[in-house]
Symmetry: C2
Subunit: 345 residues, 2 copies
DNA sequence: CGCGCAATTGCAATCGTTTGCAATTTTGCT
DNA sequence: AGCAAAATTGCAAACGATTGCAATTGCGCG
């Protein structure tokens, strides 16, 4: 508030490391200091102010480890990012990162810290139990089910404070927040077909459960409308994707007139490859993406895509987790996707 | 090793929460259990195996809080992201997120966890002391100096295990890892001028120290070569940037023939606005960015930019921090930028 | 069989805070 | 002034794992 260098300008000679040290200086007991610094307790205002002053003067902060140990809660939420095979990719994936950014904002606002952990399930069987059982976090948010659906289910049976970002399956036991991927897939296919597309290619890896759902939705619509649709497996590693897509394009050229990309990242790369082949979008080939990342409005031409509301997703994850921390057994939250029409379809 | 359901198949009825519980079952003392689980200690192989078996059977994990308290180290590295004014923006900024992704990979590999904390210095005077003094982290990496240069300097005087991503100033006291921004700025300007540019506009906020250095480098070259250069303040919040840039473009149209964007994010938005105004890149207007984000090769036309080696930066941050944890007082690390020539200049 | 040394194990203090309970001081009221 | 009730404060036991030191056990060998 006022001046900082008032009396103790000799620096940090006096080292006050513990409540007890501080208590000695203040002439009270450690318990009182603890209560005083905790703020709202039942300690005399005058005493509190004196203690606070001394604490400030010495730059004292109570040791969090001790505090957490004693109180049996950490104020930390664990964020686990399971990396399936694409080991180096996913954590720098634009979608996950954006989600993480929003999570950080939400959790910080609620007074929680985030502990981030990249896990490689293939190398570490019980990554989830380890994270949970370590006593380092009060709850866990798992970003992406990867290929760990079963393991997550098992853990969910005995551990309440966990929420997962991902796809919702009929009858699953773990609490998930995510977009209705199937519906999103339908929207994409409908748009392509409404734009006159006669044959669709889906670019994505249908082993990932979300992508499979997106494809399933598109397929349903396509079949109903008598439009052919095929899958062209496409991965997400920044290096390989470009080539993979180029190859696909060579293969489908002239046969397919609509592309549904499992991800905006794929769509963006795809647009670039298409441009290089001199194909006109949307005249000759129409493209719809999925996610609506910030970049997607910046492409040439701007990408038509299915929007996932990432901010709402983050808020949902945090809200549900907090309710679970309070003992509620919450339902999953499935968010509606929105078709964003720009210029590629 | 062998079968898991050998004797205690009654499930999780017996709850083993502490070393002591486990010790009782194993018929040894808690100390022995601790040593056994720690692995390398001086406990009899047979005993160890027995204890490990019981631990596995009951899914027991030693409480980390207690462990950390006792050992006075946490195995956690704090990552602080100071947000200047653009409160919601920076943490989802592509550059920071990419860096964070690489940091996560590096730190995980070295056996550390990451604790992520968004801080808003304006709302929280002593964010850094709080983070450090909390006893929750063994060391801190600060991502971006924001407008907190002075505060970081102060803290660095009394706290060794801290490394900062940012710009290096002559004679600064804190250990920093970052790109040589001034040199990067020179490279950008040289390229623009070599492409025939006669007047340059720098798009960026020179209040940010890194950006100021980039501009300074460009300015030096421009002045030497007799080319005019001006600053057009541009922020990074996703919403405002587009409009700001549009306005700038209106203002400079016809006068300026080269743009140096402080950031690829700005450059990408810029390219889009330019396209919408029907200006030809690179014929009428040349553009150089900074960062070389993954998207930058995907724009139309692909962006010429100054590359920061993010992976090397992350590795540098982690290496230096680990050496500081070991007691070394390390020097700063300044990485060379690389001009990546694509099609916009 | 007994001694000495090495290999294991147990004991108990410690890390620094929090908090129920009891002790003490204040306050309010007659 | 006297006494009950309320407001503060102190005491000491947790929280759960680690680790120096001492005690025990086991082993080799004369």
């Amino acid at each position: 508030m006022a001046d900082t260098d008032s009396k103790d300008r000799a620096g940090r000679v006096t080292k006050v490391r513990t409540l007890a040290d501080l208590a000695k200086i203040a002439g009270v007991s450690p318990g009182t200091v603890s209560r005083a610094l905790a703020g709202n307790s039942l300690v005399n205002t005058k005493t509190r102010e004196k203690i606070e002053a001394i604490a400030r003067e010495h730059g004292f902060r109570p040791n969090q480890m001790a505090s957490k140990l004693r109180r049996q809660k950490t104020g930390v939420i664990g964020i686990a990012i399971p990396l399936g095979h694409d080991v180096r990719q996913k954590i720098s994936d634009a979608f996950f990162m954006t989600l993480l950014g929003h999570l950080a904002a939400e959790l910080t606002e609620k007074g929680y810290d985030l502990m981030l952990r990249r896990v490689i399930p293939a190398q570490d069987e019980d990554w989830l139990d380890r994270f949970i059982g370590s006593g380092m976090v009060d709850g866990v948010i798992v970003i992406g089910q990867s290929d760990q659906f079963e393991r997550i289910e098992e853990v969910a049976d005995g551990y309440l404070p966990m929420v997962v970002w991902g796809n919702h399956q009929e009858g699953q036991r773990h609490c998930v927040v995510g977009t209705n991927n199937r519906l999103g897939g339908k929207l994409a296919a409908e748009r392509l077909i409404a734009s006159g597309v006669k044959e669709i290619a889906f670019l994505g890896d249908t082993q990932a459960i979300e992508f499979a759902a997106r494809f399933a939705g598109a397929k349903e619509v396509a079949e109903k409308m008598g439009v052919r649709i095929r899958v062209l497996p496409t991965h997400l590693s920044p290096e390989r994707t470009g080539e993979e897509i180029a190859e696909h394009l060579r293969e489908i050229e002239g046969k397919v007139d609509g592309i549904f990309a499992a991800t905006d990242t794929i769509a963006v790369t795809c647009l670039k490859e298409i441009r290089e082949r001199g194909i006109d979008v949307p005249r000759q080939l129409k493209v719809v993406g999925f996610d609506d990342l910030p970049i997607s409005s910046q492409t040439a031409p701007p990408l038509t895509t299915v929007r996932q509301d990432i901010a709402a997703g983050a808020k949902g994850l945090v809200d549900l987790l907090l309710r679970r921390l309070a003992g509620d057994d919450t339902e999953s939250l499935v968010l509606p996707p929105h078709l964003i029409i720009r210029e590629t379809a």
